[in-house]
Protein backbone atom coordinates (compact mmCIF):
# COMPACT_ATOMS: atom_id res chain seq x y z
CA UNK A 1 0.00 0.00 0.00
CA UNK A 2 1.14 3.60 -0.67
CA UNK A 3 4.08 2.27 -2.67
CA UNK A 4 4.04 5.12 -5.13
CA UNK A 5 3.13 7.80 -2.64
CA UNK A 6 5.84 7.60 0.00
CA UNK A 7 9.57 7.66 -0.24
CA UNK A 8 11.47 5.11 1.78
CA UNK A 9 12.44 7.53 4.53
CA UNK A 10 8.94 8.79 5.25
CA UNK A 11 7.69 5.24 5.09
CA UNK A 12 10.19 4.05 7.67
CA UNK A 13 9.35 6.98 9.98
CA UNK A 14 5.65 6.20 9.71
CA UNK A 15 6.27 2.54 10.43
CA UNK A 16 8.23 3.27 13.60
CA UNK A 17 5.61 5.80 14.68
CA UNK A 18 2.91 3.19 14.08
CA UNK A 19 4.75 0.51 16.05
CA UNK A 20 5.14 3.01 18.87
CA UNK A 21 1.40 3.70 18.79
CA UNK A 22 0.68 -0.03 19.15
CA UNK A 23 3.21 -0.28 21.98
CA UNK A 24 1.59 2.71 23.68
CA UNK A 25 -1.79 0.96 23.56
CA UNK A 26 -0.19 -2.10 25.13
CA UNK A 27 0.69 0.06 28.13
CA UNK A 28 -2.72 1.72 28.14
CA UNK A 29 -4.74 -1.47 28.78
CA UNK A 30 -3.25 -2.47 32.14
CA UNK A 31 -2.97 1.22 33.01
CA UNK A 32 -6.74 1.47 32.65
CA UNK A 33 -7.01 -0.79 35.71
CA UNK A 34 -4.35 1.21 37.52
CA UNK A 35 -1.46 -1.16 36.81
CA UNK A 36 1.67 0.70 35.77
CA UNK A 37 4.07 -1.53 33.87
CA UNK A 38 7.67 -0.73 33.03
CA UNK A 39 7.94 -4.12 31.35
CA UNK A 40 6.08 -3.63 28.08
CA UNK A 41 9.39 -3.79 26.21
CA UNK A 42 9.83 -7.26 27.73
CA UNK A 43 6.50 -8.39 26.25
CA UNK A 44 7.50 -6.85 22.93
CA UNK A 45 10.66 -8.94 23.09
CA UNK A 46 8.65 -12.10 23.76
CA UNK A 47 6.44 -11.37 20.75
CA UNK A 48 9.35 -10.40 18.55
CA UNK A 49 11.48 -13.45 19.35
CA UNK A 50 8.54 -15.85 19.12
CA UNK A 51 7.44 -14.47 15.77
CA UNK A 52 10.99 -14.52 14.41
CA UNK A 53 11.46 -18.12 15.56
CA UNK A 54 8.21 -19.03 13.80
CA UNK A 55 9.16 -17.41 10.52
CA UNK A 56 12.83 -18.32 10.51
CA UNK A 57 13.10 -21.68 12.24
CA UNK A 58 9.71 -23.10 11.30
CA UNK A 59 9.32 -21.38 7.94
CA UNK A 60 5.85 -20.03 8.67
CA UNK A 61 4.54 -16.96 6.84
CA UNK A 62 4.68 -13.64 8.64
CA UNK A 63 0.99 -13.45 9.53
CA UNK A 64 1.25 -16.76 11.36
CA UNK A 65 4.36 -15.63 13.24
CA UNK A 66 2.62 -12.37 14.07
CA UNK A 67 -0.40 -14.14 15.57
CA UNK A 68 1.65 -16.74 17.46
CA UNK A 69 3.97 -14.00 18.77
CA UNK A 70 1.06 -11.96 20.11
CA UNK A 71 -0.59 -15.06 21.55
CA UNK A 72 2.53 -16.26 23.40
CA UNK A 73 3.21 -12.74 24.68
CA UNK A 74 -0.37 -12.66 25.96
CA UNK A 75 0.10 -15.96 27.80
CA UNK A 76 3.34 -14.71 29.35
CA UNK A 77 1.41 -11.56 30.27
CA UNK A 78 -1.17 -13.55 32.20
CA UNK A 79 1.60 -15.51 33.94
CA UNK A 80 3.34 -12.29 34.99
CA UNK A 81 -0.07 -10.81 35.78
CA UNK A 82 -0.67 -13.35 38.56
CA UNK A 83 2.04 -12.13 40.94
CA UNK A 84 1.21 -8.61 39.76
CA UNK A 85 -2.26 -9.02 41.25
CA UNK A 86 -0.99 -8.99 44.79
CA UNK A 87 1.13 -5.91 44.53
CA UNK A 88 0.81 -2.39 43.29
CA UNK A 89 2.53 0.94 43.02
CA UNK A 90 6.27 0.86 43.37
CA UNK A 91 6.30 -2.93 43.83
CA UNK A 92 4.56 -3.49 40.52
CA UNK A 93 7.01 -1.14 38.81
CA UNK A 94 9.88 -3.16 40.22
CA UNK A 95 8.26 -6.48 39.28
CA UNK A 96 7.72 -5.48 35.65
CA UNK A 97 11.19 -3.97 35.49
CA UNK A 98 12.61 -7.24 36.82
CA UNK A 99 10.59 -9.21 34.27
CA UNK A 100 11.93 -7.07 31.45
CA UNK A 101 15.50 -7.63 32.65
CA UNK A 102 14.97 -11.39 32.90
CA UNK A 103 13.74 -11.48 29.30
CA UNK A 104 16.89 -9.60 28.29
CA UNK A 105 19.16 -12.03 30.15
CA UNK A 106 17.42 -15.01 28.55
CA UNK A 107 17.73 -13.48 25.07
CA UNK A 108 21.39 -12.84 25.74
CA UNK A 109 22.22 -16.34 26.93
CA UNK A 110 20.00 -18.43 24.63
CA UNK A 111 22.11 -19.44 21.64
CA UNK A 112 19.15 -20.77 19.66
CA UNK A 113 18.03 -17.18 19.09
CA UNK A 114 21.53 -15.87 18.47
CA UNK A 115 22.58 -15.13 22.05
CA UNK A 116 25.06 -12.29 22.25
CA UNK A 117 25.37 -12.11 18.45
CA UNK A 118 21.73 -11.17 18.16
CA UNK A 119 18.95 -12.61 16.03
CA UNK A 120 20.07 -12.05 12.44
CA UNK A 121 18.47 -12.09 9.02
CA UNK A 122 14.87 -12.10 10.06
CA UNK A 123 12.64 -12.20 6.98
CA UNK A 124 11.70 -8.66 5.94
CA UNK A 125 7.98 -8.04 5.93
CA UNK A 126 7.21 -5.50 3.24
CA UNK A 127 3.61 -5.12 4.39
CA UNK A 128 4.39 -3.70 7.85
CA UNK A 129 2.69 -0.40 7.05
CA UNK A 130 -0.41 -2.19 5.78
CA UNK A 131 -0.60 -4.22 9.00
CA UNK A 132 -0.38 -0.99 10.99
CA UNK A 133 -3.01 0.76 8.87
CA UNK A 134 -5.40 -2.07 9.75
CA UNK A 135 -4.28 -2.74 13.32
CA UNK A 136 -4.31 0.82 14.70
CA UNK A 137 -7.88 1.74 13.65
CA UNK A 138 -8.92 -1.68 14.94
CA UNK A 139 -7.35 -0.90 18.32
CA UNK A 140 -8.98 2.54 18.45
CA UNK A 141 -12.35 1.05 17.57
CA UNK A 142 -11.87 -1.61 20.23
CA UNK A 143 -10.98 0.92 22.93
CA UNK A 144 -13.85 3.18 21.92
CA UNK A 145 -16.20 0.23 22.41
CA UNK A 146 -14.47 -0.78 25.62
CA UNK A 147 -14.87 2.70 27.07
CA UNK A 148 -18.65 2.37 26.93
CA UNK A 149 -18.87 -1.30 27.89
CA UNK A 150 -19.38 -2.70 31.36
CA UNK A 151 -15.89 -4.20 31.21
CA UNK A 152 -14.37 -0.77 30.49
CA UNK A 153 -16.28 0.80 33.34
CA UNK A 154 -15.19 -2.03 35.62
CA UNK A 155 -11.57 -1.30 34.67
CA UNK A 156 -12.03 2.40 35.40
CA UNK A 157 -13.55 1.68 38.77
CA UNK A 158 -10.66 -0.65 39.69
CA UNK A 159 -8.30 2.17 38.76
CA UNK A 160 -10.08 4.55 41.07
CA UNK A 161 -10.67 2.30 44.06
CA UNK A 162 -9.98 -1.38 44.00
CA UNK A 163 -11.72 -2.20 47.25
CA UNK A 164 -14.84 -0.28 46.29
CA UNK A 165 -14.87 -2.05 42.93
CA UNK A 166 -14.64 -5.42 44.62
CA UNK A 167 -17.48 -4.54 46.99
CA UNK A 168 -19.58 -3.52 43.98
CA UNK A 169 -19.26 -7.08 42.74
CA UNK A 170 -16.62 -6.58 40.08
CA UNK A 171 -14.33 -9.55 39.57
CA UNK A 172 -11.13 -7.63 40.22
CA UNK A 173 -8.80 -10.59 39.73
CA UNK A 174 -10.22 -11.57 36.36
CA UNK A 175 -10.44 -8.00 35.08
CA UNK A 176 -6.86 -7.17 36.05
CA UNK A 177 -5.50 -10.40 34.60
CA UNK A 178 -7.42 -9.79 31.39
CA UNK A 179 -6.04 -6.27 31.16
CA UNK A 180 -2.48 -7.39 31.78
CA UNK A 181 -2.72 -10.26 29.31
CA UNK A 182 -4.33 -8.14 26.61
CA UNK A 183 -1.72 -5.43 27.06
CA UNK A 184 1.04 -8.02 26.75
CA UNK A 185 -0.57 -9.45 23.61
CA UNK A 186 -0.72 -6.03 21.96
CA UNK A 187 2.92 -5.50 22.92
CA UNK A 188 3.71 -8.88 21.34
CA UNK A 189 2.12 -7.74 18.07
CA UNK A 190 4.19 -4.56 18.18
CA UNK A 191 7.33 -6.62 18.80
CA UNK A 192 6.57 -9.01 15.92
CA UNK A 193 6.10 -6.08 13.54
CA UNK A 194 9.29 -4.46 14.81
CA UNK A 195 11.41 -7.60 14.37
CA UNK A 196 10.25 -8.20 10.80
CA UNK A 197 10.78 -4.60 9.84
CA UNK A 198 14.21 -4.10 11.43
CA UNK A 199 15.28 -7.69 10.45
CA UNK A 200 17.80 -7.69 13.30
CA UNK A 201 17.49 -7.59 17.06
CA UNK A 202 19.54 -8.51 20.08
CA UNK A 203 18.99 -8.63 23.81
CA UNK A 204 19.50 -4.89 24.21
CA UNK A 205 16.95 -3.92 21.55
CA UNK A 206 14.06 -4.20 23.97
CA UNK A 207 15.75 -2.70 27.01
CA UNK A 208 14.44 -0.86 30.05
CA UNK A 209 14.71 2.51 28.34
CA UNK A 210 12.30 1.28 25.69
CA UNK A 211 9.85 0.31 28.43
CA UNK A 212 10.30 3.78 29.88
CA UNK A 213 9.65 5.38 26.48
CA UNK A 214 6.43 3.41 26.08
CA UNK A 215 5.27 4.63 29.48
CA UNK A 216 6.17 8.13 28.37
CA UNK A 217 3.98 7.97 25.24
CA UNK A 218 0.89 7.34 27.33
CA UNK A 219 1.74 9.75 30.12
CA UNK A 220 2.51 12.59 27.71
CA UNK A 221 -0.48 11.91 25.51
CA UNK A 222 -2.86 11.36 28.41
CA UNK A 223 -3.73 8.07 30.08
CA UNK A 224 -7.36 8.84 30.89
CA UNK A 225 -8.61 8.58 27.31
CA UNK A 226 -7.93 6.13 24.51
CA UNK A 227 -6.86 8.96 22.20
CA UNK A 228 -3.98 9.80 24.56
CA UNK A 229 -1.63 6.93 23.62
CA UNK A 230 -2.10 7.66 19.91
CA UNK A 231 -1.42 11.34 20.37
CA UNK A 232 1.55 10.83 22.70
CA UNK A 233 3.27 8.22 20.55
CA UNK A 234 2.79 10.19 17.34
CA UNK A 235 3.85 13.46 18.96
CA UNK A 236 7.02 12.10 20.54
CA UNK A 237 8.04 10.03 17.50
CA UNK A 238 7.33 12.68 14.89
CA UNK A 239 8.57 15.74 16.81
CA UNK A 240 12.26 15.19 16.02
CA UNK A 241 11.41 14.44 12.39
CA UNK A 242 9.39 17.63 12.20
CA UNK A 243 12.31 19.62 13.59
CA UNK A 244 14.63 17.94 11.13
CA UNK A 245 12.37 19.03 8.28
CA UNK A 246 12.46 22.58 9.59
CA UNK A 247 16.21 22.39 9.37
CA UNK A 248 16.08 21.31 5.75
CA UNK A 249 13.81 24.24 4.98
CA UNK A 250 16.24 26.51 6.78
CA UNK A 251 19.00 25.28 4.50
CA UNK A 252 16.95 26.38 1.48
CA UNK A 253 17.39 30.00 2.52
CA UNK A 254 20.08 31.55 0.27
CA UNK A 255 23.33 32.19 2.13
CA UNK A 256 23.49 35.80 0.85
CA UNK A 257 20.40 36.63 2.91
CA UNK A 258 22.10 35.49 6.08
CA UNK A 259 25.54 36.88 5.60
CA UNK A 260 25.46 39.79 8.06
CA UNK A 261 25.94 39.87 11.81
CA UNK A 262 22.78 39.13 13.82
CA UNK A 263 21.16 36.96 11.16
CA UNK A 264 24.13 34.65 10.68
CA UNK A 265 24.33 33.95 14.42
CA UNK A 266 20.62 33.21 14.58
CA UNK A 267 20.98 30.98 11.55
CA UNK A 268 23.87 29.07 13.09
CA UNK A 269 22.04 28.65 16.35
CA UNK A 270 18.87 27.35 14.70
CA UNK A 271 20.87 25.12 12.42
CA UNK A 272 22.67 23.59 15.38
CA UNK A 273 19.52 23.36 17.50
CA UNK A 274 17.43 21.61 14.89
CA UNK A 275 20.03 18.91 14.30
CA UNK A 276 18.46 16.07 16.19
CA UNK A 277 20.70 13.13 16.69
CA UNK A 278 19.67 10.62 19.26
CA UNK A 279 21.18 12.04 22.46
CA UNK A 280 19.71 15.46 21.83
CA UNK A 281 16.32 14.06 20.92
CA UNK A 282 16.23 12.21 24.23
CA UNK A 283 17.32 15.29 26.18
CA UNK A 284 14.37 17.16 24.69
CA UNK A 285 12.11 14.21 25.63
CA UNK A 286 13.32 14.46 29.20
CA UNK A 287 12.62 18.19 29.35
CA UNK A 288 9.15 17.68 27.85
CA UNK A 289 8.47 15.00 30.45
CA UNK A 290 9.36 17.22 33.40
CA UNK A 291 7.51 20.25 32.01
CA UNK A 292 4.47 18.08 31.33
CA UNK A 293 4.45 16.75 34.88
CA UNK A 294 4.57 20.31 36.22
CA UNK A 295 1.99 21.85 33.90
CA UNK A 296 -0.25 18.99 32.83
CA UNK A 297 0.28 15.93 35.03
CA UNK A 298 -2.67 14.18 33.36
CA UNK A 299 -1.21 14.46 29.87
CA UNK A 300 -2.05 16.51 26.82
CA UNK A 301 -5.54 15.09 26.44
CA UNK A 302 -7.84 14.30 29.33
CA UNK A 303 -11.24 12.70 29.34
CA UNK A 304 -12.91 15.83 30.71
CA UNK A 305 -11.51 17.90 27.88
CA UNK A 306 -12.79 15.49 25.27
CA UNK A 307 -16.18 15.49 26.91
CA UNK A 308 -16.35 19.25 26.78
CA UNK A 309 -15.56 19.45 23.10
CA UNK A 310 -17.24 16.36 21.75
CA UNK A 311 -20.50 16.56 19.86
CA UNK A 312 -23.46 14.92 21.52
CA UNK A 313 -23.69 11.36 20.33
CA UNK A 314 -26.72 10.27 18.38
CA UNK A 315 -29.71 9.52 20.53
CA UNK A 316 -28.15 10.37 23.85
CA UNK A 317 -26.63 13.47 25.37
CA UNK A 318 -23.76 13.60 27.80
CA UNK A 319 -24.70 14.28 31.38
Amino acid sequence: MFDGLLDGYTRSILIFAGINVVAAYSFYVPFKTGQVSLGQAGFMAVGAYTAAIMTQKFGLPFWAGFLVGGFIAGIVGVVVGFPALRIKGIYLLLLTLGFSEIVQVIALSWDYVGGAQGFRQIAFNRYTLDYLVVLIPLLIWFFARLERSSLGRAMDSIHQDETAAEVMGIDVVRTKLFAFGLGAMIAGFAGALYAHHATFMDSSTFNIMMGVEILMFVVVGGGSTYWGPLLGALFLTLLPEFLRTLREWLELVPVSWMNFFPANRVYDFLHEFLDFENAKRLIVYGIILIVMMILRPDGMLTRDQLRRFSLPRLGRRHG
Binding site: L95, G286, I290, M293
Partner: protein, 290 residues
Protein backbone atom coordinates in the same frame (compact mmCIF):
# COMPACT_ATOMS: atom_id res chain seq x y z
CA UNK B 1 39.35 -19.77 46.81
CA UNK B 2 36.10 -19.23 48.67
CA UNK B 3 37.66 -16.54 50.89
CA UNK B 4 38.85 -14.73 47.80
CA UNK B 5 35.33 -14.80 46.36
CA UNK B 6 33.93 -13.49 49.63
CA UNK B 7 36.27 -10.49 49.41
CA UNK B 8 35.21 -9.88 45.80
CA UNK B 9 31.59 -10.18 46.81
CA UNK B 10 32.05 -7.64 49.58
CA UNK B 11 33.71 -5.26 47.12
CA UNK B 12 30.84 -5.49 44.66
CA UNK B 13 28.27 -5.38 47.42
CA UNK B 14 29.74 -2.28 49.04
CA UNK B 15 29.06 -0.22 45.92
CA UNK B 16 25.52 -1.64 45.69
CA UNK B 17 24.99 -0.63 49.31
CA UNK B 18 26.16 2.92 48.73
CA UNK B 19 23.75 3.41 45.83
CA UNK B 20 20.88 1.74 47.64
CA UNK B 21 21.34 3.91 50.74
CA UNK B 22 20.43 7.00 48.72
CA UNK B 23 17.41 5.29 47.21
CA UNK B 24 16.13 4.09 50.51
CA UNK B 25 16.73 7.41 52.31
CA UNK B 26 14.78 9.26 49.64
CA UNK B 27 12.06 6.64 49.54
CA UNK B 28 11.78 6.81 53.29
CA UNK B 29 11.29 10.54 53.38
CA UNK B 30 9.23 11.09 50.22
CA UNK B 31 7.76 7.69 49.34
CA UNK B 32 9.27 8.31 45.92
CA UNK B 33 11.04 5.88 43.64
CA UNK B 34 13.79 8.31 42.69
CA UNK B 35 14.69 7.01 39.27
CA UNK B 36 17.49 9.47 38.51
CA UNK B 37 19.67 8.16 41.33
CA UNK B 38 21.69 5.89 39.06
CA UNK B 39 22.51 8.81 36.80
CA UNK B 40 23.69 10.83 39.80
CA UNK B 41 26.08 7.94 40.44
CA UNK B 42 27.29 8.22 36.82
CA UNK B 43 27.72 11.99 37.07
CA UNK B 44 29.80 11.50 40.23
CA UNK B 45 32.07 9.10 38.38
CA UNK B 46 32.62 11.61 35.57
CA UNK B 47 33.26 14.50 37.98
CA UNK B 48 35.87 12.36 39.74
CA UNK B 49 37.40 11.35 36.43
CA UNK B 50 37.67 14.92 35.18
CA UNK B 51 39.15 16.12 38.45
CA UNK B 52 41.83 13.45 38.17
CA UNK B 53 42.43 13.94 34.44
CA UNK B 54 42.39 17.70 34.07
CA UNK B 55 42.91 19.16 37.55
CA UNK B 56 45.44 16.42 38.40
CA UNK B 57 43.72 16.05 41.73
CA UNK B 58 44.55 13.14 44.00
CA UNK B 59 41.91 10.56 44.74
CA UNK B 60 40.69 12.17 47.97
CA UNK B 61 40.04 15.50 46.25
CA UNK B 62 38.28 13.63 43.44
CA UNK B 63 36.03 11.83 45.93
CA UNK B 64 35.25 15.06 47.76
CA UNK B 65 34.59 16.93 44.51
CA UNK B 66 32.26 14.23 43.23
CA UNK B 67 30.41 14.25 46.55
CA UNK B 68 29.92 18.02 46.51
CA UNK B 69 28.91 18.11 42.85
CA UNK B 70 26.39 15.31 43.31
CA UNK B 71 24.98 16.85 46.47
CA UNK B 72 24.39 20.03 44.46
CA UNK B 73 22.80 17.95 41.72
CA UNK B 74 20.52 16.36 44.31
CA UNK B 75 19.37 19.79 45.48
CA UNK B 76 18.82 20.88 41.88
CA UNK B 77 16.75 17.72 41.29
CA UNK B 78 14.47 18.65 44.19
CA UNK B 79 13.86 22.13 42.81
CA UNK B 80 13.44 21.05 39.19
CA UNK B 81 11.70 17.70 39.27
CA UNK B 82 10.25 17.07 42.73
CA UNK B 83 8.94 20.22 44.35
CA UNK B 84 7.02 21.80 41.43
CA UNK B 85 5.32 18.53 40.53
CA UNK B 86 1.76 17.79 41.66
CA UNK B 87 1.74 15.94 44.97
CA UNK B 88 -1.70 14.40 44.64
CA UNK B 89 -0.71 12.17 41.71
CA UNK B 90 1.60 9.40 42.82
CA UNK B 91 2.91 8.86 39.28
CA UNK B 92 3.85 12.46 38.54
CA UNK B 93 7.11 12.76 40.55
CA UNK B 94 8.18 9.31 39.38
CA UNK B 95 7.79 10.35 35.76
CA UNK B 96 9.43 13.73 36.20
CA UNK B 97 12.45 12.02 37.75
CA UNK B 98 12.45 9.56 34.83
CA UNK B 99 12.64 12.68 32.67
CA UNK B 100 15.62 13.81 34.72
CA UNK B 101 17.22 10.39 34.23
CA UNK B 102 16.88 10.65 30.47
CA UNK B 103 18.27 14.20 30.46
CA UNK B 104 21.31 13.34 32.59
CA UNK B 105 22.17 10.18 30.70
CA UNK B 106 21.96 11.79 27.29
CA UNK B 107 23.72 14.96 28.36
CA UNK B 108 26.57 12.68 29.37
CA UNK B 109 26.45 10.92 26.00
CA UNK B 110 26.36 14.30 24.28
CA UNK B 111 29.27 15.72 26.25
CA UNK B 112 31.50 12.69 26.83
CA UNK B 113 30.50 10.51 23.87
CA UNK B 114 28.96 7.06 24.07
CA UNK B 115 32.21 5.26 24.79
CA UNK B 116 33.78 4.05 28.00
CA UNK B 117 36.55 6.42 29.19
CA UNK B 118 39.51 4.91 31.00
CA UNK B 119 40.00 5.92 34.62
CA UNK B 120 43.72 6.58 35.28
CA UNK B 121 45.51 4.73 38.04
CA UNK B 122 45.40 6.91 41.12
CA UNK B 123 46.36 4.44 43.82
CA UNK B 124 49.57 2.49 43.67
CA UNK B 125 48.83 -1.18 43.10
CA UNK B 126 50.32 -3.38 45.76
CA UNK B 127 49.17 -6.82 46.68
CA UNK B 128 48.87 -7.99 50.26
CA UNK B 129 48.59 -11.63 51.09
CA UNK B 130 46.98 -12.61 54.35
CA UNK B 131 46.73 -16.36 54.70
CA UNK B 132 44.64 -17.63 51.76
CA UNK B 133 43.45 -14.17 50.70
CA UNK B 134 45.15 -11.81 48.29
CA UNK B 135 43.87 -8.27 48.42
CA UNK B 136 45.13 -5.28 46.48
CA UNK B 137 45.59 -1.77 47.83
CA UNK B 138 42.83 -0.56 45.49
CA UNK B 139 40.37 -3.07 46.90
CA UNK B 140 41.40 -2.19 50.41
CA UNK B 141 40.89 1.50 49.69
CA UNK B 142 37.43 1.00 48.16
CA UNK B 143 36.28 -1.24 50.99
CA UNK B 144 37.69 1.17 53.56
CA UNK B 145 35.98 4.23 52.08
CA UNK B 146 32.67 2.39 51.66
CA UNK B 147 32.59 0.97 55.16
CA UNK B 148 33.79 4.27 56.63
CA UNK B 149 31.00 6.14 54.86
CA UNK B 150 28.39 3.71 56.06
CA UNK B 151 29.53 4.01 59.66
CA UNK B 152 29.53 7.82 59.41
CA UNK B 153 26.05 7.80 57.92
CA UNK B 154 24.81 5.47 60.60
CA UNK B 155 26.12 7.78 63.31
CA UNK B 156 24.65 10.79 61.52
CA UNK B 157 21.18 9.30 61.34
CA UNK B 158 21.17 7.88 64.85
CA UNK B 159 23.03 10.57 66.78
CA UNK B 160 22.44 14.00 65.26
CA UNK B 161 19.43 16.26 65.46
CA UNK B 162 18.91 16.45 61.72
CA UNK B 163 19.27 12.67 61.54
CA UNK B 164 16.46 12.37 64.04
CA UNK B 165 14.40 14.80 61.94
CA UNK B 166 14.95 12.56 58.91
CA UNK B 167 13.75 9.53 60.86
CA UNK B 168 10.73 11.45 62.14
CA UNK B 169 9.80 12.64 58.64
CA UNK B 170 10.15 9.12 57.29
CA UNK B 171 7.77 7.94 60.00
CA UNK B 172 5.08 10.51 59.26
CA UNK B 173 5.22 13.83 57.42
CA UNK B 174 2.33 15.56 59.18
CA UNK B 175 3.29 14.58 62.67
CA UNK B 176 6.90 15.58 62.08
CA UNK B 177 5.80 18.97 60.75
CA UNK B 178 3.51 19.46 63.74
CA UNK B 179 6.38 18.74 66.09
CA UNK B 180 8.42 21.50 64.48
CA UNK B 181 10.44 19.60 61.90
CA UNK B 182 11.07 21.64 58.77
CA UNK B 183 10.01 18.93 56.32
CA UNK B 184 11.19 20.79 53.21
CA UNK B 185 14.64 21.19 54.72
CA UNK B 186 14.72 17.51 55.65
CA UNK B 187 13.87 16.58 52.06
CA UNK B 188 16.71 18.77 50.77
CA UNK B 189 19.21 17.33 53.25
CA UNK B 190 18.12 13.79 52.38
CA UNK B 191 18.65 14.38 48.68
CA UNK B 192 22.03 15.99 49.41
CA UNK B 193 23.25 13.09 51.50
CA UNK B 194 21.89 10.37 49.25
CA UNK B 195 23.27 12.00 46.11
CA UNK B 196 26.62 12.78 47.69
CA UNK B 197 27.06 9.16 48.71
CA UNK B 198 26.06 8.05 45.21
CA UNK B 199 28.71 10.40 43.80
CA UNK B 200 31.40 8.79 45.92
CA UNK B 201 30.13 5.37 44.94
CA UNK B 202 30.44 6.40 41.29
CA UNK B 203 34.10 7.35 41.67
CA UNK B 204 34.82 4.13 43.58
CA UNK B 205 33.16 2.18 40.77
CA UNK B 206 35.26 4.05 38.23
CA UNK B 207 38.43 3.07 40.12
CA UNK B 208 37.32 -0.53 40.48
CA UNK B 209 36.47 -1.03 36.81
CA UNK B 210 39.19 1.43 35.70
CA UNK B 211 36.61 3.00 33.40
CA UNK B 212 33.60 5.28 33.34
CA UNK B 213 30.73 5.30 30.85
CA UNK B 214 27.50 7.30 30.46
CA UNK B 215 25.55 4.05 30.62
CA UNK B 216 26.93 2.85 33.95
CA UNK B 217 24.04 4.57 35.75
CA UNK B 218 21.28 2.31 34.52
CA UNK B 219 22.68 -0.97 35.81
CA UNK B 220 23.68 0.67 39.08
CA UNK B 221 20.14 2.01 39.37
CA UNK B 222 18.57 -1.37 38.78
CA UNK B 223 20.89 -3.13 41.24
CA UNK B 224 20.32 -0.36 43.75
CA UNK B 225 16.57 -0.86 43.46
CA UNK B 226 16.89 -4.59 44.09
CA UNK B 227 19.03 -3.93 47.14
CA UNK B 228 16.60 -1.33 48.46
CA UNK B 229 13.78 -3.82 48.16
CA UNK B 230 15.82 -6.62 49.71
CA UNK B 231 16.66 -4.45 52.69
CA UNK B 232 13.12 -3.14 53.09
CA UNK B 233 11.95 0.15 51.59
CA UNK B 234 13.19 3.04 53.68
CA UNK B 235 15.42 0.90 55.87
CA UNK B 236 18.97 2.31 55.73
CA UNK B 237 20.59 -0.42 57.79
CA UNK B 238 18.76 -3.03 55.73
CA UNK B 239 20.13 -1.49 52.52
CA UNK B 240 23.70 -1.72 53.84
CA UNK B 241 23.42 -5.41 54.71
CA UNK B 242 21.35 -6.32 51.66
CA UNK B 243 23.89 -4.68 49.34
CA UNK B 244 26.70 -6.81 50.76
CA UNK B 245 24.46 -9.88 50.51
CA UNK B 246 23.57 -9.26 46.87
CA UNK B 247 27.21 -8.65 45.97
CA UNK B 248 28.13 -11.93 47.63
CA UNK B 249 25.32 -13.85 45.93
CA UNK B 250 26.29 -12.48 42.52
CA UNK B 251 29.98 -13.22 42.86
CA UNK B 252 29.40 -16.71 44.23
CA UNK B 253 26.84 -17.58 41.55
CA UNK B 254 29.15 -16.20 38.86
CA UNK B 255 32.05 -18.24 40.24
CA UNK B 256 30.24 -21.51 40.77
CA UNK B 257 27.34 -21.44 38.30
CA UNK B 258 28.09 -19.09 35.41
CA UNK B 259 28.44 -15.43 34.56
CA UNK B 260 25.29 -15.01 32.47
CA UNK B 261 23.21 -16.64 35.18
CA UNK B 262 24.50 -14.07 37.63
CA UNK B 263 22.05 -11.36 36.56
CA UNK B 264 19.27 -13.90 36.24
CA UNK B 265 19.85 -14.74 39.89
CA UNK B 266 19.54 -11.18 41.12
CA UNK B 267 16.34 -10.58 39.18
CA UNK B 268 14.86 -13.87 40.36
CA UNK B 269 15.62 -12.74 43.90
CA UNK B 270 13.88 -9.45 43.15
CA UNK B 271 10.74 -11.19 41.95
CA UNK B 272 10.68 -13.77 44.74
CA UNK B 273 11.05 -11.00 47.33
CA UNK B 274 8.28 -9.01 45.66
CA UNK B 275 5.94 -11.96 45.78
CA UNK B 276 6.73 -13.51 49.13
CA UNK B 277 8.24 -10.81 51.28
CA UNK B 278 7.53 -7.32 49.95
CA UNK B 279 8.61 -5.80 53.25
CA UNK B 280 12.17 -6.91 52.52
CA UNK B 281 14.37 -9.07 54.68
CA UNK B 282 14.62 -6.56 57.49
CA UNK B 283 11.73 -4.24 56.72
CA UNK B 284 8.79 -3.79 58.98
CA UNK B 285 6.30 -1.99 56.76
CA UNK B 286 5.23 -1.72 53.15
CA UNK B 287 4.67 1.27 50.91
CA UNK B 288 0.91 0.82 51.19
CA UNK B 289 0.96 1.46 54.91
CA UNK B 290 2.51 4.85 54.51
Amino acid sequence: MIYQQVINGLMLGASYSLVAIGYTLIFGVLGLLYFAHGEVFMVGAFVGLYLVLYAHANIYVALLGAMVACAALGVAAVYVAVRPVAKDRPLAPLISTIGLTIILQNLAVYIFGGQQVAFPETIKQTLYTIGPITISSVQLFILGVAVGLMVLLWLFIERTKIGRAIRATAENHETAALLGVDVNKVILVTFMIGSGIAGIAGVLDGIKNSGVSPFMGLSAAVKGLIVMLLGGLGNVFGAMIAGLMLGMIEILSAAYIGTTERDLFSFMILILILIYRPTGLFGTRTADER
